[in-house]
Symmetry: C2
Subunit: 250 residues, 2 copies
DNA sequence: AAGTGGTCTAGACCACTTA
DNA sequence: AAGTGGTCTAGACCACTTG
């Protein structure tokens, strides 16, 4: 028994979703608050279970709510990390043996796990940029506040870094950029390309992403003063955890 | 009759979605190709309509497929615009009477519509940055290849721009930045803050976004050489239509 | 006219969380 | 034990697109 099937109104599930969204955006429902569940919506609106689920799925796919099995659907919490694009890579950061990351989290503890270093054949696009068919790859995952927030994969020309600490798990003080400096190939110029899209399943798993969360993909290329590309770093960020900041002059 | 309810395998709808995704990512199914429809999946896997829909909805919400009413579900097409963050705002661009946008589309035709200019009370966050309670607001929508790709809202301190062409629909050669220059308030430094999230319904409508498409929100603040904020510009981009590029030195 | 996706009902069983 | 969300079936009517 659908209410008034001829009318021009949006479907029931959408009207319900609109109401809940308004409550969230207005602050009537706050971070972490529990939304009316499937049973509550069925009773309140006299609809079938599937329709109630559909209404909730709208909010979940918009990233406004998070379902918790056996518990309920809750208003989502946010607290992004500010990531400085230009400032963070200033030479004095890594030139003094500081990890780049330190300038982002402002004291919040972070962890790195899943570090894997390997020599591999280069993917086509990376091979073209680095002008190398064989590369060393460094993969790892970053977490803040116990939650994974970023996957990163760095590529280096094998000929350049072979035998250096860049091929080891521990690259030493200042990290890979300091080591490139040791080789006389210090990065002087960076390009970052930023895209956003919905994640693939492996990314959902690795970053523990709830539905409705995009990822931001940052592809950074590091060039020496001579214009040679010495690193490509592809970072996949939980979009809900980040604000990217770039500063530049006219 | 669910197949083998005890097994540790993913649910049917997810296995079907995984298969279709693999076909898309491998290139077996190409841009614009038609996916097997609900009826085809029901027959092939012996499942109910709702389950087939659920499988397709996974791909749609991932942004990999687009449903077309009465026709089918199709592999999505992409062709992003490259937007240069640093270079595009170099003084010689607007200093010579060129619109900023010209440096992005490289000859692809673009259009602006929905331009509205108004004097309003400032939203709290903007008021704080511009140090002004009253502001002039310029809103407009940009399209490329007949498709809307960006919404933009610019805020200016009312005291500063009152009586200038910035309060008119046509701001003249070089646009608002040239006019700020006329006032002796030329922008010298910019900050862009980049975030990505799922769109709200009004944004879905205004940008004609298919499901599974995030938006990228860029908030740019323009500062004079003296450090005064003279413009806040909030841009909402169709994430599938853009690659943002930033260049900077170590 | 036939096929497609969009919405909805009325059930069912399951795994999980909370009390 | 009760309640919750997760998955699934088997129907139905609709609006829309295509041949």
């Amino acid at each position: 028994m659908s209410e008034s099937p001829v009318s021009n109104e949006p479907p029931i599930y959408r009207r319900i979703a609109d109401g809940l969204r308004a409550a969230i955006l207005s602050g009537e429902l706050r971070d972490g608050d529990r939304l009316p569940g499937e049973n509550a919506l069925m009773a309140e609106y006299g609809i079938a279970r599937a329709t109630a689920r559909q209404a909730l799925s709208v909010l979940i796919n918009e990233g406004l709510a998070v379902p918790k099995r056996g518990s309920g659907v809750y208003v989502r919490r946010f607290k992004p990390i500010r990531r400085h694009g230009s400032r963070r890579l200033a030479r004095d950061q890594w030139g003094r043996g500081q990890a780049i990351w330190d300038s982002d989290t402002r004291g919040r503890p972070y962890t790195v796990d899943g570090l894997r270093v390997a020599r591999e054949p280069a993917p086509d696009d990376v091979a073209a940029i680095l002008a190398a068919s064989e590369i060393w790859v460094r993969r790892r995952r970053y977490s803040v506040d116990e939650r994974p927030v970023q996957l990163a994969t760095s590529y280096f020309p094998a000929d350049l870094v072979e035998g250096t600490p860049i091929t080891l798990p521990d690259t030493g003080p200042g990290g890979v950029y300091a080591r490139l400096g040791d080789l006389g190939q210090a990065p002087a110029h960076f390009t970052e390309e930023v895209q956003a899209r919905m994640p693939q399943p492996e990314e959902v798993t690795a970053l523990e992403l709830p539905a409705g969360t995009p990822v931001v993909v940052v592809r950074r290329t590091a060039y020496t003063a001579g214009g040679t590309a010495v690193e490509v770093n592809i970072m996949t960020l939980d979009a809900a955890s980040y604000v990217l900041q770039y500063d530049f002059d006219a």
